[in-house]
């Protein structure tokens, strides 16, 4: 499965990144090289192996259902690039 420049462009949109022409060429060549390397895993037969997402067998680590103080709004908004004291502000989502 060889990775094309068009594939990389599509992935860039999914990843919410954007490259210029030169950047796209470079990213494509690096990704091709890395994907070729990691494809080494296909040598192994893993038909009967359970996937391991995590090193610990911890299940349902739930906190007690007790209310506790949350971050005050002012604090939560403090690091926002743009806010109006109530909300995070972003560019218009809906068309005019």
């Amino acid at each position: 499965m060889s990775l094309t420049r068009q594939d990389v462009e599509k992935v860039a949109l999914l990843a919410r990144l954007k490259f210029d022409d030169e950047g796209l060429d470079k990213m494509t060549s690096h990704m091709v090289q890395i994907v070729e390397y990691v494809d080494k895993l296909s040598e192994l037969n893993t038909d009967d192996v359970e996937p391991m997402a995590h090193a610990l067998d911890v299940f349902n680590a739930l906190a007690e259902d007790e209310p506790r103080a949350s971050l005050p709004r002012e604090e939560a908004l403090r690091n926002a690039p743009k806010n109006d004291d109530e909300y995070f502000r972003v560019p218009a989502v809906l068309g005019e």
Binding site: M1, L3, D7, V8, V11, A12, L13, L14, A15, R16, L17, K18, F19, M27, H30, M31, Q33, I34, V35, Y37, V38, D39, K40, L41, S42, L44, T46, V49, E50, P51, M52, A53, H54, A55, L56, V58, A61, A63, L71, E75, A76, R78, N79, A80, P81, K82, F88, R89, V90, P91, A92, V93, G95
Partner: protein, 500 residues
């Protein structure tokens, strides 16, 4: 001998005996930083004023006879990836240049309640992605043993500051080798705890199933002291494990009887530097002379570690780093430029999506973008099973290799890296060459076991070589005691780089 050449354990004894104040000790380190960090670049920010204030407060508590924490008065440097309330925490990224977290990481809280003095923040590869600290958006860090070479990474600043006597103790993080590899290349001790031993709350996430916070220090007993403070269950991290923390600093000097060490033959096959191999082989002989039994073991899937890691870690990273959207916190691109760009290329993408894309492309460096791209690709429709699911299965096989090994041996012994510190710029244009730096370290993260790196020799060019010991999960006490046995029999840990 100047005070900063003593170990943290020795300094602590002097502080407790009233022969040294924390202000004197902190000032001595600040002077040293002033003197040598211009050429090393280990610190992103030195917090002189607050450090001296904390030190004075601890001295006053001591004079008043108040009870004090386990690190009372000792300076500690912190990798710039741990959230510290109302203080810049950049993660080595432009994305977080002006970010001031509204809360403290648990590891930071633990240092503060142990009465440690926070000296400053150390340099790192952006978002902990890298093996040379060259991916920092701010500065490079030089190896104290040869300033034309890299200190390793991603915790390069954390290792370099300890190696150059700019801090007695420091905190790093290890996702694929990021504590052990720089510790090896800078000639200090670094420990990656078992996954779940130390709370990750407030650690800026890279790959959540692999990340662990751990100590770096000059000696094994200092490492034990710091781990004892960091370890423990935290209800704020659901993956931290509810187990008692052993008193590592109390048991570290007790040698282990009947120790069996496993050696993996492939570790010494092609690709390893001859001088590195010799130093590690000699270290194995030291253990034999101390009564340990050496046993050859098989780790049949070790060679698949890098491939497995470079699927899983980017997948987790692409998900974790989706939060940097230019809306909630961190960098955002200029809005007028977004609109102008859209008008120019006539795209129907919409200003919000373009704002995300432009923000992220400007805020993240190239390695971070590469990993986000790889992870997004491996998780995308049609590729998920071939890459991500496959990697999770091989991860299980790697864990089973470890489980079988630890049925036969107490610890696994071997190299940390195949080569000593490489030249700056040598691997920056070849991502695969950089990734292979983690060959001997990534499997511990994938399996969730503990590992330590300790100094075991020098090359003819005077570069440090690291020895790696790995233990079964939650066997850090065994790891530290075995490491201390080696340290007591050798003097590599006490050698110092010459710095002007």
């Amino acid at each position: 001998m100047s005070i900063i050449q003593k170990t943290a354990t020795e300094q602590l004894a002097l502080l407790q005996a009233g022969e040294l104040t924390s202000v004197e000790l902190t000032q001595a380190y600040l002077d040293r930083i002033e003197q040598v960090d211009g050429s090393i670049g280990a610190f992103l920010r030195v917090e002189s004023d607050s450090a001296l204030q904390q030190a004075a407060t601890i001295d006053a508590k001591r004079s008043a006879g108040d009870s004090l924490g386990k690190l009372a008065g000792l300076p500690v440097a912190i990798k710039d990836i741990l959230c510290t309330k109302d203080t810049p925490t950049t993660c080595g990224s432009r994305m977080l240049e002006h970010f001031q977290p509204p809360y403290n990481a648990t590891a930071v809280e633990k240092l503060l309640s142990a009465d440690a003095v926070i000296l400053g923040r150390t340099n790192m590869d952006e978002f902990a992605m890298g093996s040379s600290t060259e991916n920092s958006a701010y500065q490079t860090t030089q190896n104290p043993w040869d300033i034309t070479r890299i200190p390793g990474g991603s915790s390069g600043g954390a290792a370099a500051c300890v190696a150059a006597d700019m801090a007695p103790l420091s905190l790093g993080t290890d996702t694929g080798g990021s504590i052990r590899q720089p510790a090896a290349l800078c000639g200090c001790v670094g420990l990656k705890p078992t996954y779940g031993r130390v709370s990750r709350y407030g650690l800026i996430a890279f790959a959540s199933s692999l990340d662990q916070i751990g100590p770096l220090a000059r000696t094994v007993d200092d490492t034990a002291l710091l781990l004892e403070v960091l370890a423990g269950y935290d209800p704020l991290d659901s993956t931290s494990v509810n187990r008692e923390t052993p008193a590592y600093s109390q048991t570290v000097h007790q040698p282990l009887e009947g120790l069996t060490l496993g050696v993996v033959e492939q570790h010494f096959s092609e690709g390893i530097d001859a001088e590195v191999a010799t130093s590690v082989q000699q270290a194995i002989q030291v253990y034999q002379s101390l009564g340990a039994t050496i046993k050859s073991i098989e780790m049949p899937h070790a060679d698949y570690g890098i491939a497995t890691y470079y699927i899983i870690a980017p997948c987790e990273a692409s998900s974790n780093l989706a939060r940097y959207d230019g809306a909630h916190y961190g960098y955002r691109t200029d809005q007028a430029e977004v609109l102008a760009e859209l008008a120019e290329d006539g795209s129907d993408e919409g200003p919000l999506v373009r704002m995300y894309r432009k923000t992220r492309s400007e805020g993240f460096g190239s390695e971070v973008q590469r990993r986000i791209m790889l992870g997004t690709y491996a998780l995308s429709e049609g590729y998920y099973e071939a890459f991500y699911l496959k990697a999770l299965k091989v991860r299980r096989l790697i864990r089973q290799d470890y489980d079988r090994a630890f049925e036969q041996v107490d610890l696994i012994i071997g190299p940390v890296t195949a080569n000593p510190a490489f030249a700056k710029g040598e691997k920056t244009s070849d991502p695969m060459a950089m990734y292979l730096e983690d060959l001997y370290t990534v499997t511990a993260n994938l399996a969730g076991v503990a590992g330590i790196s300790l100094p075991c020799g020098f090359t003819s060019a005077g570069l440090p070589v690291g020895l790696q010991l790995q233990s079964a999960p939650f066997e850090e006490e065994k790891l530290l005691r075995a490491a201390q046995m080696y340290q007591s029999a050798t003097d590599f840990h006490s050698r110092r780089p010459e710095l002007s």
